[in-house]
Structure formats: structure tokens, C-alpha cells
Symmetry: C2
Subunit: 139 residues, 2 copies
DNA sequence: TATTGTTATACTCTATAACTATA
DNA sequence: TATAGTTATAGAGTATAACAATA
């Protein structure tokens, strides 16, 4: 690929990814809003303080407080005292939170799975390799 | 690729696209919010009525009225009377709207372009093909 | 004093319901 | 009567500023 075409690819690939994300969002009728799912997905990787969660989600601490309050009230997240810092808290998914997150992920994947089934084996293989590259880019 | 792996790919690919979209959003400091850019991008393809625009953007007519009001006030969109239906309007990008959209797109592409430059020619070629497939999926 | 999290308050984007003008 | 768009109003999600508790 000639390097003069790179800006064009940058634009096309960005648009394509955004278009897919958009379709996934529109096609799946989630029981949780995107920002709730996103926060829970972070906690799935491991417990975090509210401050850490606000930072990775690129959201202000007061906004995260609000989000976490909702999740705690719903029983999806547990908010414990921090073991070594009395000012802080530790957030963690509950079993119900984990189950809910899996259910939501499966619903979101449905549309994508249906689309992939329309492709040839070679095309599926190409997308598998592209997925690895995209993850490396966004890392 | 064996078909039992397809659900896994559906999940991985969805996550990868969302991750890229997210990075683009976080890395670019846009002068316009995402929904404004999205609405303007639709108008770039050609003039639309408010109702049509609300439908493709999956948003209620009153929400679109608000969005359009903002864009008209900013001079980015022109709202003319519809030539054949007195109840309706026709929305179109102004020259300034077009220029602003180009500027925003370039800013968003900067991060992606920088990432693509770290890849080999073969990897870039693979992503080019993947882009075409993704667009077909999201069509 | 600095830091962590929360409360108080306000702004933006969204929606549903009611309204106006035209078909 | 039905449809296109707007206005009225309310519900989420976000932010900044001020506050309480702890380091």
C-alpha cells in the first residue's frame, strides 16, 4: 500500500469502526445504558476505587459517584471501604453484576454474529486478523 | 475458520471496533459534539428534511429540532422551505458547515493516522480490506 | 496541607405530549 | 383526518464548586 493513501485509510477505517459501533448500539436493546455497561466492564477486570474508575472512564468524580450509586442500588456493584486508605472505597462487581454484564454482551453480539454469518470463510479469517490489529492500535 | 469460533469473533470484533471508536473520541478534542458532527455528516451526503434526519440519526423529531436550531444559529446549516410541501423544510450544509466538518474529520483522523504509521505495509493492506468488509456489515 | 469522595447546582441532550400549519 | 415540524416540560448524564473525612 502506497503511503500517500494512508490518510485516506485512516479516515475510512475510523468511519467504519464508528459505523459498526453505532449499529451495535442501535440494534441491541440493552437493559443498561452504554456508560453503565462501560463502567461495569472496567470493574470486570478487577476492583477499582471510584477515582480510578472516573479516570479510566474519562469522567468527573461527581459523575462517577452518580453512576456508582445507581449500580450499587441495583445490586450490580458492591462498594466496600478501602482496606488501607480510610478516605477511599473499593468497587467490585457482584455476582448479579457479572451475570447481567454477560447477558448484555451476548445481546450486543447477536447482531454482529448474524452479519458475520453472511461472509465467506476467507472474509471471516481476514476480519479475525484485522481484529488483532485493531486491538493493537487501540491499546 | 471453523464456524464454532464465530461467536468469539463476533464479540472480539465488536469490542475492537468500540475500542477504536472510543480512542478516537478521547484523543480528539473536537470543536463540535459527536451528535452535531453526526447530523452534519448526514447532510453532507445531500439535503434532508428534519424528519428524515431525525430518522437516520435514530433520534426524536423534537431532539433534532434542537440540534438543527443550534447548527442554524452557528451558520453551519441552512434551513429552507421545502419546494413542494409547505409543511416541511429542507436542511443543507452551508459552506462554513462543510469547512468545519472537514476540519473536525482531519482532527479525528490524526490519532488513527499516527497509529497506522506504526504498521507494516502488509498490515495496512489487510486493514484496507477489512475496512471494506466492515462497511458492508454495517451497511 | 493535600487528597478522596460526596453534595449542591446548573447545563446539555434526550424523550413524550400538546400545539400549529399544511396536505 | 393525517402529517411535518415546533414548543413545553421532564428525565438522564455531565460538569464545576464547595464540603467532609482522612492522610
Amino acid at each position: 500500500m502506497n503511503s500517500a493513501a494512508l490518510p485516506g485509510l485512516a479516515n475510512d477505517l475510523r468511519i467504519a469502526c464508528q459505523r459498526v459501533s453505532r449499529r451495535v448500539r442501535f440494534e441491541s436493546t440493552d437493559e443498561l445504558t452504554p456508560h453503565l455497561v462501560s463502567a461495569m466492564s472496567q470493574l470486570k477486570k478487577g476492583p477499582k476505587t471510584p477515582g480510578e474508575l472516573a479516570e479510566v472512564e474519562r469522567v468527573s468524580p461527581p459523575s462517577m459517584t452518580r453512576t456508582v450509586n445507581f449500580l450499587v442500588e441495583k445490586g450490580l456493584v458492591r462498594r466496600d471501604d478501602h482496606p488501607s486508605d480510610g478516605r477511599s472505597k473499593l468497587l467490585e462487581l457482584t455476582d448479579e453484576g457479572r451475570a447481567t454484564l454477560s447477558r448484555v454482551a451476548r445481546a450486543r453480539d447477536d447482531w454482529m454474529l448474524h452479519q458475520l454469518e453472511t461472509l465467506t470463510k476467507d472474509e471471516q479469517k481476514l476480519l479475525k486478523e484485522a481484529t488483532e490489529l485493531l486491538n493493537r492500535l487501540a491499546q
